[in-house]
């Protein structure tokens, strides 16, 4: 109870509000990430009251995860990789003048996923963290495979499955560049120091989505976007019935995957999206603007916020890079993750967890309040939009590693990606391969070492067996329907 009083003091509420608002803005900018913002603000919180400092960072984390969906929906420029799946459904909705509904769905789903995961964090953190420890490198490899199965769901029956797979594997191959973690030797770096750490996925994400979108806008003849739909469809659409199911699905998946090691948010969003597509009654609308897809993906990636903090604060094993940066803030205040956090420092830890509920409420309010205004961003004339977004794309690519090299990398991804896109290759598959490739490789290589060269380790544990079943369940139905489709097309042509 006294913890609630701390959270609801005016100073704390203001801190949470500022953090969340800043988080939404940061997540919404191409190139600014929650990892970067939290990392940079950790030293700043050193001089703050510890509890306030943690609340500020927690607000940024929660807000940024939601914020990534706004530009994904409005401009097809996902601010975080976890919002790529959201863009697949959200942008077509925007084009059809249904941006307000898409935004409302995304903020509601984010709220549901976020709140659910924080509740789990509050109630079951120590227990769940213990269970997650059973999850070793071999299981991490399988988790990456589950995420990669999303490539199949991106390629629906009408676009080429083979091309989507080629794009995905191409992404995984691009991710090979850099240091080989097993031997410490450099591969395919061509002697460039900038490539020793490999190719960062943020410049790729900015190039493949934000920049390509701007290049296409700039290159349009006549510049007249059909905005009539936007004007007339500003009427308030209610959330579709039955969408709660998809939010629940995403919230559960996201929380679970968030607890596990690896960049969970992207995997969670794609797995939720993939499963949603399988169980949806309106599957044919996926890829053309189905709010169910947004609901599943957004609840999924926000579910990771609470989930990733479970092992972070109980064991000191951060679930992803934002949680890792956040852990730095705990340590700087002398709060070393572990049981102490719930006893000696309980008066800081519990208010921090409770503040995450408030943060979710704050971005829900922000999102619902601003949705109609945000939707108008799509009305900004391209001649203004293009240079502004391009400038942010350049700045964002640079600021990630203070590296001009990353700007060139971003431009190269934009140009190469545009050619691939025009030839029918899926860029979503490419970025998925690029992000999950290193996780898959790390899990595979470490699994092979632990298994002393025997691939049996990938089938040994019970968790692994269940994961294989899920992977097969995700792969077989779409492959079967694809085969049927090709078969029919073949007959028709013959």
């Amino acid at each position: 109870m006294e913890y609630l009083a701390i959270v609801f003091s005016p100073a704390a509420l203001l801190t949470i509000f500022i953090g969340t608002f800043a988080g939404v803005a940061i997540g919404g900018m191409p190139g600014l990430t929650a990892t970067m913002a939290v990392g940079l603000l950790v030293p700043f919180t050193y001089t703050m009251d510890p509890t306030m400092g943690l609340m500020l960072l927690g607000g940024i984390y929660a807000g940024a995860m939601y914020g990534g969906s706004i530009p994904a929906i409005l401009l097809n420029t996902p601010g975080t990789p976890a919002a790529v799946a959201t863009a697949i459904e959200g942008y077509p909705m925007s084009r059809a003048g249904r941006a307000p509904l898409a935004l409302k769905t995304s903020v509601t789903a984010s709220f549901v996923g976020g709140t659910f995961s924080v509740l789990i964090l509050l109630l079951f953190a120590p227990f769940l963290a213990r269970q997650a420890l059973a999850f070793g490198p071999a299981e991490t490899f399988l988790l990456a495979l589950m995420g990669l199965a999303g490539i199949i769901s991106i390629a629906d029956e009408n676009s080429s499955l083979i091309k989507a797979l080629i794009a995905g594997v191409l992404g995984m191959i691009i991710a090979l560049v850099g240091t080989d973690d097993m031997s410490g030797s450099l591969r395919y770096t061509m002697g460039m120091v900038d490539l020793i750490d490999g190719i960062d996925f943020m410049p790729a994400l900015i190039g493949l989505f934000s920049m390509i979108q701007m290049l296409e806008l700039a290159g349009q003849r006549g510049h007249e976007i059909d905005t009539s739909a936007l004007h007339k469809a500003q009427k308030r659409e209610k959330l579709p019935k039955g969408i709660g199911r998809f939010m629940g699905l995403g919230a559960g998946t996201g929380t679970l995957i968030g607890i596990l090691p690896g960049e969970g948010a992207t995997i969670a969003a794609f797995i939720s999206y993939n499963v949603a597509k399988r169980i949806s009654k309106t599957r044919e609308l996926f890829g053309k603007g189905n709010p169910e897809g947004i609901a599943a993906a957004e609840a999924g990636n926000n579910g990771c916020v609470g989930g990733s903090l479970v092992p972070t604060i109980t064991l000191g094993i951060p679930g992803n890079s934002v949680a890792a940066a956040l852990m730095g803030a705990f340590i700087i205040q002398g709060m070393i993750p572990g049981p102490d956090l719930f006893t000696e420092y309980a008066d800081r830890t519990y208010p921090f967890i409770l503040s995450l509920f408030v943060a979710n409420g704050v971005f829900l309010a922000i999102g619902l309040f601003f949705a109609p205004y945000l939707a108008r961003i799509a009305l900004v004339p391209p001649a203004i939009m293009v240079p502004v977004v391009a400038a942010f794309a350049v700045l964002g690519s640079y600021a990630l590693n203070n590296s001009v090299f990353d700007i060139y990398l971003m431009i190269a991804f934009a140009l190469g990606g545009l050619v691939l896109k025009k030839l029918g290759y899926s860029l979503e598959a490419l970025i998925l391969g690029l992000i999950l490739g290193p996780i898959a490789e790390g899990g595979f290589a470490q699994g092979m070492v632990i298994g002393r060269g025997s691939p049996w380790i990938f089938f040994e544990s019970n968790i692994a067996k269940v994961m294989w079943l899920i992977i097969l369940a995700l792969l077989i139905p779409p492959l079967y329907s694809y085969w049927k489709h090709v078969h029919r097309a073949g007959k028709a042509a013959g």
Partner: protein, 313 residues
């Protein structure tokens, strides 16, 4: 603002150095500290520990921290080595990465590229096993065969220590290189590996909570933070490894300026406020003067070279 940035841009474009280094009016602008790792990490925190007190206690001194993360610190080390030796750029280094890059032939700098100002912090090496492991001492570790042992990447301090132990005990590990200490921690707590070579700060809480067991310190004497823990040396294996984090400057800074900076570092490190802040931030101090630290680095480079010649990476 616009005008100002135009001015700055033009000045830079013309290659004008805004302030020639004159010892008399030093410092007349902010001093940049290059931190070769991410903001919020332990090296970054060490740097901020210093700047906090330096700005408070030394009038006219202002510091700007520039994080250049990546490639195991190499990018940052090279930026320090390349910086103009006017006393307005110094930086942090950490070992053994600083010398490991030289040994592996990847670095474009040598130890001579730096003036070594002194060491600040350390993190002792440890050997840690899962809580329920039958391995209780270093002798057990040497007796068991074919153990899977996690180290934080090839060429890291953990890796070098594991190699030293293999040599000393005549065993061969099934070495598992991980990406970062987080993966090591998860592997130990989850019992996926038999042992790991790590650093004390990463595991001290888990050891005290009984979630994992440290079986040896890899230091020359027992450590004050865990005084009951015997060293590997006591247990009969000469394996010593610690990570250190200190200050370096590009070589060639005018003497008066350099000595001013060196003595400032020494004074701050000796102050009680610094020690209190370090303890609060979980940073283990190991003050070393410039010459001592240079000797340490030279020594470490020779040791690392020996390991590299045996098994290059």
């Amino acid at each position: 603002m616009f005008k100002a940035s135009v001015f700055a841009g033009v000045a830079l474009a013309l290659g004008l150095s805004a302030a020639p280094a004159l010892a008399g009016d030093y410092p007349n602008q902010a001093i940049t500290i290059i931190v070769p790792s991410k903001a919020g990490g332990s090296t970054d925190r060490t740097a901020r520990l210093f700047t906090d007190l330096a700005e408070k206690n030394y009038e006219g001194f202002e510091f700007v921290i520039q994080n250049i993360p990546g490639s195991g610190g190499q990018k940052g080390f090279e930026a320090i080595a390349r910086a103009e030796a006017d006393g307005y750029t110094i930086g942090l280094n950490f070992t053994p990465q600083l010398v490991a890059h030289i040994v592996s032939g990847r670095a474009q700098y040598t130890l001579d590229s730096f003036h070594v100002m002194g060491n600040v912090a350390q993190d002792p090496g440890i050997v840690v096993v899962p809580a329920d492991s039958p391995i209780k001492t270093m002798a057990d570790l040497a007796a068991a065969s074919g153990l899977t042992v996690a180290v934080n990447g090839i060429g890291s301090d953990d890796f070098l220590a594991a190699k030293q132990f293999e040599e000393a005990a005549g065993v061969t590990f099934n070495l598992l290189p991980t990406k970062g200490s987080t993966e090591q921690k998860a592997a130990i707590l989850g019992g996926h590996v038999d042992a790991a070579f790590m650093n004390l700060s990463q595991m001290i809480k888990q050891h005290k909570a009984g979630d994992a067991r440290i079986i040896a310190m890899l230091t020359d004497a027992r450590d004050e933070h865990l005084p009951d823990m015997p060293t590997a040396l006591e247990q009969g294996y000469d394996v010593q490894m610690r990570a250190t984090r200190g200050f370096v400057a590009p070589a060639g800074i005018p003497d008066e300026i350099q000595s001013q900076l060196d003595s400032m570092l020494a004074e701050i490190m000796a102050s009680d406020a610094f020690k209190a802040n370090a303890a609060k931030g979980n940073i283990f101090l190991l003050p070393m003067s410039g010459p001592d630290y240079l000797a340490y680095l030279t020594d470490l480079q020779a040791q690392t070279q020996a390991v590299y010649d045996q098994a290059p990476w």
